[in-house]
Every structure is written in structure tokens, then in C-alpha cells.
Assembly symmetry: C2
Homo-oligomer: 161 residues x 2
């Protein structure tokens, strides 16, 4: 019995008129997200990165050569606002992990690219990060994880189409 079940039991006692089944599902997603974020944060901060910075570096790394994207593209991948992305890029630039140049084809735009140091760092941290993610999902069998992916994917698609 997880903590969410206790929360639902309280609501059923206090507000039996409400059908709180969806609250249970949503609550589990929320609490799981907190536990997972905390679990991933340790590995990331151990390398002097923040979760926010890691997110951007990883997006550039997996985009493939030349490991460069516009702030707009980074925003679309990472689900943050433009102001947040400006701030993230500022800090990564200060740290020497990315560069920011004007887009030669569009005077409004710019291009954010991994530096050699940024590439080396993210490429190493991602390895540990993935290993850590395996640990964090250990409680589920491969089959269970696959069934979970299918259900989460269907739900997620309802928001991202």
C-alpha cells in the first residue's frame, strides 16, 4: 500500500460523493516524479551540473552533429518557457559548456552549440545517468516496464498531439 492509497482512503471517508480514482493515478505520477527527480539529481550534481543544465546539454548531444540547436528548438524539446531557456543558456555559456552565435540565416534567431568541454562532459555524465535510471526502475520487471510504457505512452499522446 503506497502513500497515495492512504490519501484516497481519507478522501473517501471525508467526501464519499467524489470519485477519486483519477486522483489516485495522477497522484502516483506526481509522487513518482518527485522520487525519480531526486534520485537522478544526485548523479547530475555530482558532476557540477544542475538538472536544468543537464537537460539542455543532453538535448544538444542527442541531436547529433553538429550538436547545435536554436533556443526555439531547445524550448520545444524541454517544455520550458523562453525566459527559462535564456537563463539556462546564459549559465551554460558562462560555464563554457555551450556557445551562442547569431543565426546567419535569420537575424532574429541564434544557434546554441556544445563546446568540446560540453560534449565531453555530457557524454560522460549520460552514461552514469542511464545506469542510474536502470537502478531507479529496478522494482519493475522488463515486462512490467513495457506494459507501463504502453499505458503511459497512450496517455501522454493525448496531450502531445
Amino acid at each position: 500500500m503506497d502513500q497515495v492509497e492512504r490519501i484516497l482512503a481519507q478522501w473517501r471517508a471525508e467526501r464519499p460523493d467524489l470519485d477519486v480514482a483519477p486522483m489516485g493515478t495522477i497522484g502516483r505520477v506526481k509522487r513518482l516524479n518527485v522520487h525519480l527527480s531526486q534520485g537522478m539529481e544526485r548523479v547530475i550534481t555530482a558532476h557540477g551540473l544542475t538538472a536544468a543544465g543537464f537537460d539542455v546539454l543532453a538535448t544538444l548531444r542527442r541531436a547529433g552533429p553538429p550538436h547545435a540547436l536554436s533556443p526555439s528548438a531547445l524550448i520545444a524539446w524541454t517544455m520550458v518557457t523562453s525566459g527559462t531557456m535564456t537563463n539556462r543558456i546564459d549559465r551554460l555559456e558562462e560555464a563554457g559548456l555551450v556557445t551562442r552565435r547569431r543565426d546567419p540565416d535569420d537575424g532574429r534567431g541564434s544557434v546554441v552549440a556544445l563546446t568540446d568541454a560540453g560534449f565531453a562532459l555530457i557524454d560522460q555524465v549520460v552514461g552514469e545517468h542511464v545506469a542510474n535510471q536502470h537502478r531507479l526502475t529496478e522494482a519493475l520487471s522488463d515486462d512490467e516496464r513495457a506494459r507501463l510504457d504502453e499505458l503511459l505512452g497512450k496517455w501522454l499522446a493525448s496531450f502531445e498531439d
Copy 2:
């Protein structure tokens, strides 16, 4: 195909040495949590509340009479730090939605209780909130939601035991 599938495809192309299956599951939880938080926020802010304040009021409400808990208990239910909870209670107290008294039985502790205004507000907002949660889970059938609950519950229990 959700956005996470595209992210995994990029990693598989760039770093075929990594098994990114767990990243997919964790990524879906994270993105779903963002969509759900945004979807719930609108209903909550429409009543002049923040998600943070709602969280505390709801915890007090479902605890049942006399709708009063210590900051420690609120911290345990809501997964935030003590400093965060102090700040949340401060704001709710300013808004006249809760009161804070010293615990007569323990001079270190205190008791946070819903005011009549706080009770009336949360009791109304929760109704709309639950209806909204039904909307947010519409993409899944009852059976799918139940299977999802079982898998999420098992995973969550691995962190909360």
C-alpha cells in the same frame, strides 16, 4: 508516437551503446507530470489559490475534523522541506485560510488548522478539481487506468517503504 519515442530514437542513433528503455519510462512520467500540473493549475488559480496552497488546504481537509495538523505531518504528506512548508503556511495564514497556534502539549510544535473560510474554499475547489482530473484522464479507459494504477503503485512502493 509521443515525443519521448522521438527522444529515444535520437539516443539510439547517437549512443547505441546505451540501453535507454528506462529513460523512456522515466521521461514519460516526467512529461506527463508537466502536462497534468499545467492542466490542474488552471482550475486552482481560477479560485485565487496556488497549487502549493491548494496542496496544504486539501491535506487539512481530507484529514477530517478538526481539520488541523502539525507542520511535520503536513511535510510528511506533501513531500516538501520544512522551509517550504513554513512559507506555505505563512501565505495561507496571511490569506486567512488557516490559523497557526502553538501545540499545547509540545512547546516545539504547532498546529495548523483550516479557518471557516479555508474550509469553505477548499471544499468547493476540490469538487471542481476532481472533475478536472476526470477530464485529464479521459484518454484512458477505466480498465486501462486500473492497470496503470497497479504498475505505478508497485513502482511507487519501492520508494515509499
